[in-house]
Symmetry: C2
Amino acid sequence: MSISQTAVSRAGVSVASIDSFHVGGEVVKLHDQPKLQMRVAGKGVAREVDLNGSYMTGQVYANHVRLNQSEHDFPVMFWHGGAMTGVTWESTPDGRPGWQWLFLEAGYDVIVTDAVERGRASWSPYPQIYNTPPVFRTKEESWAMYRFGPKSGYHDDVASRVPFVGQRFPMKGFDALAAQLVPRWTTHDDMTLDAYEALLRKVGPVHLVTHSQGGWFGLNMVLRAPELIKSLVVIEPAGAPHLSKDDAKRIAHIPHMFVWGDYIEDVPAWKNYRQAADEFMINLKDYGGQSELLDLPSQGIRGNSHVPMMDDNSAEIAALVSEWITRTTKTA
Amino acid sequence: MSISQTAVSRAGVSVASIDSFHVGGEVVKLHDQPKLQMRVAGKGVAREVDLNGSYMTGQVYANHVRLNQSEHDFPVMFWHGGAMTGVTWESTPDGRPGWQWLFLEAGYDVIVTDAVERGRASWSPYPQIYNTPPVFRTKEESWAMYRFGPKSGYHDDVASRVPFVGQRFPMKGFDALAAQLVPRWTTHDDMTLDAYEALLRKVGPVHLVTHSQGGWFGLNMVLRAPELIKSLVVIEPAGAPHLSKDDAKRIAHIPHMFVWGDYIEDVPAWKNYRQAADEFMINLKDYGGQSELLDLPSQGIRGNSHVPMMDDNSAEIAALVSEWITRTTKTA
């Protein structure tokens, strides 16, 4: 990006198109459901609601913003974590520009996704179509799992909350983050990977930037469809598959970046997830693959939570990631 | 819009910012729920899931795109219908530019919303927080309710479907539309109006463009917060409240536009909804208010369905609406 282009980008971005669409999934048909009498709009009388019929299920939602003058050959595709949606990559909970915007400013076309059964991807009746119930994330659980502070530090009263020392997540945005959380199912890995593979086949190769459960999915997806992933960024992945030598060789040409925040040692679940991801990373390196570890605390950047794209240094981390993608994947 | 600006807009739009946020709702706390053991990510072991705790519920999601050079004093805010989300206003199901894009091209800042319990607004556990179950829309119901064709014209097999003669909805996009549909609750009118009123108070006055159930809500909202609505477009509203003489006087200065497609006589539910909306419109006029009827068939535009923002003439109708807003609300 030249200096003059930087000046332009500070005045906004010139957008060529905004497309959204759903991809993947299948039609399922329900039979023998009882008919209901329900009021469905306004204060009118009840009308018959018939659940029998056909539904789309298993689709993923994508929003694709194209720049007038993209500076890179491939778009960045964002894949959010569990209990979240594409909103992860939009404005931060305290109202600063999100990574969607920052990557547009960096000259990338950007695809933001809502995973299967979350947000605009929609969800299906259970137990009729899904065979398990959803899981919900409480404010208390997000406080602990996003490593904002010790469990004992969460209180209903905002002023009484005690985060970890040096915490960079903007505490005034905590309730706004809680408003973003969505229900999720825990048994839909294959359905989700199928839909995202269909999405990747539709939009072509991407730089895939993933978070948390999306990182778990990303590390599985690169094994499924290595030809569609130009680089893979996994931010705080919630686990990783075992990487065999043969698999490592298949993906050895794809640059991988692993990003970790602070306070991992304070939350046992994250110690375990990190161990699995570290094993993947080490195996990848041992077998000749490209992987970069962006361990923020060991680089002197302390205080990041599980959601660095929302922390007070989110723009700085976005720049580290986008510059790594550009540097690692540019053709000579 | 001058000719030179039109030329610029054909090359895209210059965007100053994309902000998204949730507004409204409240925190509720669940107690005494049984703890569950569930696998929540990857193929790892089960972990304890504790539903007890605090949730945000009742919030609305908004996505606000600001132009570098907005040509109008107030943004357009879009409010979708039942079983749908803000995706209504994005790309059409057959991949043409949606009304979000067309209104940006027309020089308006644009706010797209996902209503309470739909899409990115999220939804809450039932029966624990919501006291009723959701309703789901089948492909068969949307075929009939969106007035694509007679009930008997729907078939699983795409090639066998028989739409109304002259139907403008792009039939090759029907399954893509079905993929957009989301569950909804039928008992949350007050919760929804509360959240949207909070949203309007946050963003300031808007031109409110509504569809279907969103039209029912819009006609209630203008009575709640007339100071926050510069003009109101109700596209195929699913009903209307009774408008008293006193209420009509309070909103008489606000231009209203009612938009209707074709085939109303073929679907009894829509004859009833239209009758209620016509009564609102006639009362508004009788008491000195401003209302315009854009009855597409009587203007010689035949074949529009219940979703004119997706039909093959969606850009033409967007232009009729945006030009009406500009003409009716411009300050001399």
